[in-house]
Symmetry: C2
Subunit: 458 residues, 2 copies
């Protein structure tokens, strides 16, 4: 076989790095479940016409064809490029078997054939939480689902994250109250504020959207409101625009920010940022983007919002609200930068040393006894000199080596301290902290805490 | 959107069914980790020339193309059809960063564009454990890796499984000792014994492979040996063939059977079945197929063996031994038949009832207090009459409903028994048995045991 080179856009993790990803996914899943969200997994393929409905992403879809298909056979299936399209289809397909409001989480890869760059891969894992209703979905679920993600990310050993919320009703109501005719177009222009200077954006509002200079000025004033405290309502009211939809959006936004702040702990910021517009097409109320401190270059590491028609089969409409966290987008840069690392590449806490090949049965029995009490271990591959067996453990980060003595008694050595003590395979246990591979994080003050420990401390 | 119909060959699970699959995967992973196997995940795509090396399966590969690719662009990537090809490539690509022998497990979907039938899907999840060495891999790892899967399946609440072992050296040595020239061809004919009558197979051995009738008879006698006790060596020796490779194979087979029987418990059978040949091309020693009682129609639910050249980069060869369990192939028929079911479709143990919409904050605080102690719960979606809120819980299988009384005290009702008692959100805990969704299994005597309980009992 030829030399292997990595496939651009399809990153793979080494075992100790994968341990980090698994712990993070386990922690996210635990939090989602604590909030009553059920896990589902959808197939990875969808009919192309369903994937292409969004329009804008169709260039990035991977289509599938059986290798033995006729050359002119039309491809009918593609890999999903997010978890929202398959979830919407799952809801429609299985609606008769689901209870609404249906609260689900989903952690799966998705695929986009786009140009790879830091944080953007052709295969990437996402973690999504959504609540979907049948015909109706009360607003309080917006608060609920956003608070779940705030809670979940607050438990991860990653750098500080910031949830920046806005509300589409607020923007639309404000623009309508100002008398701007083409609200959608105005939002599209305002969305360029992170790339263009304010004067340029103001000029475009006047020239392209047809606003007056005064209207353009008000739009800019609205878009630059960013508050982390309770002054939001006051700040918006001060702009002097009145509109029923604006009032509703403002009330919703204040409620989301307040509800999220209540569970945010001290490692998550929650702000109202009135420049966030996010995907003009299907969001209809709450919108959010999530940013990570020191990693602003990744743009958002997550986002989501409210969509009044997540799915519809013509008779019934399913409104939804949800938020997605980019697991690969966040973790791969953090792992690459050494911010996150796994404490060891193997689950084993102990290596059971081997005296002679004939005594493998004895060592295997010791390992079996440890395993019945949940202690992961392995038996040395060969009866090498003990020094060599210890180095074998060391290279894998296995903290303990177990010896069966000539007289049938046992000893266990902590190879980090060198301490060696008598031990009984029926009762010995390692310190709790060594039981599983741990995440080392330079992003949190306790730099070897695992997600589950963070959880216990809260 | 149009009416959705299921996509043949791409089964999806409802939430309570998915809970079964998740518990099974968690149990398998726990066991693999107890034995010191590290988890990895490979990307789902491989270069087509690597996938097609096997030859025989190439018709079933799904190839990938970006939807915007030029019409005559050559497809270069395909979805993996098993976890062995990507694992071999992973080992070659990352060898410099791995410690050998490298012990890994992998639980991922794979794809084959074949005709769907019961137990055979176009997307299916497999759980693989393998040990791979650099240049060499001592035989005792055969025993080890097979024993891990025996241990793992013995903890699942599925029908009785049978591990049927053979050894390629034994077969080859026996045929060589008999004086048969084309051993591979003879094995291929003997492999038809499960479809054709013995006389027909004997005739084919004579006519096609060129054996004498006596040689053919001996081959049949060997192939019909199937023993679940220690009489294996004696039975084979009684056929009077002597050969060095036969001796080695016989010794290995006896060791694998004995080592697996030692961990088999009472829900797994371990046998030597000398008819098992399995994939002529790359297995070189131990081979195994796994069958499930009452589901013989699925053929094997898992299998594997020893391959002296799992991977090679020209300079270094990586021998391996491993075994794969068909998660989808096993679980989907068991779920469809009602043998396995999930106790509830949601993780919530408790529904916190809502008195009025204005008191949502109070109920949310109760839920928050329960969650800090690991109790999954959700707040009622609306302040409906309590009877309606209880029925809401009932439909989801949530066993407890929590009430905040007018005087600020709390009560919790077990809606199965109707018993309602005073409770404090800071201290109340449900019975351990209700804490997580459980697997109900008609296949085990304790028909509501979860994998983790089985584990504790062993």
């Amino acid at each position: 076989m030829s030399k292997i080179s990595p496939l651009s856009g399809f990153p793979e993790l080494l075992p100790a790095q994968r341990a980090v990803e698994r712990e993070v996914i386990a922690s996210l899943s635990d939090t989602f479940e604590l909030h009553g969200f059920a896990n589902i997994e959808t197939r990875v393929v969808e009919p192309i016409d369903r994937l292409a409905k969004g329009g804008e992403v169709d260039k990035e879809i991977y289509v599938l064809q059986r290798i033995a298909a006729e050359p002119d056979a039309k491809a009918e299936l593609g890999l999903h490029f997010d978890l929202t399209v398959p979830f919407a289809r799952y809801v429609l397909e299985h609606a008769g078997h689901l209870e609404f409001p249906f609260r689900r989480f989903q952690v799966q890869p998705a695929w986009r054939g786009e140009r790879p760059q830091e944080g953007r891969y052709r295969q990437f894992t996402q973690a999504d939480v959504d609540i979907v209703g049948r015909d109706e979905l009360p607003f309080h679920h917006d608060v609920e689902v956003m608070a779940v993600m705030v809670d979940a990310l607050g438990r991860l050993p990653i750098p500080r994250v910031s949830f920046q919320f806005n509300n589409r009703k607020l923007i639309q109501g404000f623009y309508r109250g100002l008398g701007i005719a083409d609200v959608t177009d105005a939002i599209r222009v305002i969305d360029k504020l992170d790339k263009l200077p304010a004067e340029e954006v103001a000029r475009m509002l006047v020239e392209r959207v047809g606003t007056t200079p005064e209207q353009a000025q008000r739009c800019l004033e609205l878009a630059t409101i960013r508050v982390a405290d309770s002054s939001l309502v006051e700040r918006v009211r001060a702009l002097g625009v009145t509109d029923e939809l604006l009032d509703q959006g403002l009330e919703e936004l204040a409620a989301v920010v307040e509800g999220c702040r209540a569970v945010a702990g001290d490692r998550v910021d929650v702000e109202a940022n009135l420049r966030i517009a996010r995907g003009l097409d299907y969001y209809t109320g709450t919108v959010v983007e999530i940013f990570m401190e020191g990693y602003e270059r990744l743009k958002s590491v997550g986002g989501g919002g409210r969509y009044d028609a997540l799915a519809s089969d013509g008779r019934t409409t399913y409104p939804g609200v949800g938020v997605s966290f980019g697991v690969s987008r966040t973790l791969i840069p953090l792992i690459t930068d050494g911010v996150l690392s796994g404490s060891r590449p193997v689950p084993s806490v102990a290596l059971v040393a081997l005296n002679t090949e004939d005594e493998r049965g004895t060592s295997t029995a010791v390992a079996g006894a440890l395993r019945t009490r949940g202690i992961a271990c392995e038996v040395a591959p060969s009866p090498a000199k003990f020094g060599k067996q210890i180095r074998f453990a060391e290279r894998r980060g296995i903290p303990f080596v177990w010896f069966v003595q000539a007289d049938g008694t046992h000893q266990v050595k902590d190879i980090r301290s060198g301490e060696q003590v008598d031990a009984d395979p029926a009762t010995w246990a390692p310190p709790e902290v060594d039981l599983r591979p741990r995440i080392s994080s330079t992003a949190t003050s306790t730099n070897t805490s695992t997600p589950s420990e963070l959880e216990e401390n809260q």
